[in-house]
Symmetry: C2
Subunit: 244 residues, 2 copies
């Protein structure tokens, strides 16, 4: 089998440079030749070399400053990127049968307990709120307990949706495609009704994900996702690889 050639000019140079950085040939602090010089060395135009260096900078591999040039960055702190996927897809990806079951649906004002659970302010969730609770199943076993409040001022259509059929998260995604979210993840000892619903003994460790979704400055929905701890794990890969 022949060695695969890289596809583009700037792609090849990008790979070479990132290799140099990752394998230590260019250690942190190393000063790269200037743009015009590199362009000449590699026989490309300045724009092409600029594309490479701009990309390296945006990925955090190098720091570029006028007059002082381009230097290899100090490595980023150990870090990780997690992707929390759609629950239905997540279950399907595990090769299991997915089911959603709505437990309750109330259009009412939120009380202090709701606000605490979902991490809302006092002003938020006082009215125009739709409270939902339901279970996600994987092969008929409880996989995730979802407690959610939807701001019906932002999403009035939600009042007309049958959430026994439509999974709230998925429906919201199709309705408000591009939103911002903030997540908090922690471990808790499950108790009370949560334990009963998840069919877990009181005190079992669970992974709690709080997700607050907003569009501009307005919150759209807040969800609390409770996963049986030992059964579920977030998996993340992190590397300095460029591209993809």
């Amino acid at each position: 089998m022949a060695i695969e050639k890289s596809d583009t000019l700037h792609g090849r140079i990008l790979e070479e440079f990132s290799s140099n950085i990752v394998d230590g040939t260019w250690p942190p602090g190393y000063l790269l030749p200037k743009e015009t010089e590199l362009a000449e060395q590699y026989g490309v135009s300045r724009m092409t070399m600029n594309k490479v260096l701009t990309r390296l900078a945006s990925e955090g591999f190098v720091i570029r400053r006028k007059r002082s040039g381009t230097v290899v960055a100090q490595p980023r702190a150990e870090s990780a990127v997690f992707a929390i996927n759609n629950i239905g897809e997540e279950v399907a990806a595990l090769g299991r049968r997915y089911k959603w079951s709505l437990l309750s649906s109330d259009s009412r004002a939120g009380n202090a307990q709701d606000r605490r659970l979902l991490g809302l302010n006092e002003d938020e969730a006082k009215d125009n709120s739709l409270f939902l609770q339901g279970l996600h199943f994987s092969n008929d076993e409880p996989f995730c307990l979802e407690t959610r409040v939807i701001n019906t001022k932002m999403v009035p259509d939600a009042l007309g949706v049958d959430f026994e059929k439509d999974v709230p998260g998925s429906w919201l995604l199709t309705t408000m495609p591009w939103t911002k979210a903030r997540h908090h993840v922690r471990a808790i000892n499950v108790s009370g009704r949560d334990a009963t619903l998840l069919e877990l003994p009181v005190g079992a460790a669970c992974l709690e994900v709080l997700r607050r979704t907003q569009i501009d400055a307005h919150w759209v929905t807040c969800a609390r996702l409770l996963y049986p701890g030992e059964a579920h794990q977030l998996i993340a890969e992190f590397d300095g690889k460029i591209g993809g």
Copy 2:
């Protein structure tokens, strides 16, 4: 206060386009005019418009295909990006006093329990392994229990380091700056020695982070980081914002 002007040509167009997508002016599936047309409309060169569209595509907002043109993408599944930072920085960021305390350090072969705990294969960690355990403190309270094995074939210098002074994670970061890592996060009920060291009752929920670091195909170090559950949470923001 005057309205802030955007800095660059492509920056302004990028903002405009991403706004159009996020606020629904351009819904998923919307077909954008072709590159040359857009360039003409905005009075810029094709390269500049290409920069905008290429960026939009790399951020996942649009799909570009030859002949068929550029269309607004179906929104990505709900997802989140977590950053796990250096523990010392993490504690400092909370405005607390940080301390590291090494509990044990052994250069030995790993047994089955070690491998299970750290998620290693049988072939890995059989020799050339340095086992460490220590506690990270926040204001003199246990913040994180770290159990780690270092592949001394990859990092021979590690045998000469005094890990009572140097925090393993930080030291490795300065020694092998650009590495890849895989993380597994789950909730567990703490027990035994782990509970004692973290000064927690048996059964308390903890967040367990398994981090396996490698360079190319070779593992460098595996760490198990155990955080008292209620006290620690991962925080992540995710949005479709472009730039930064």
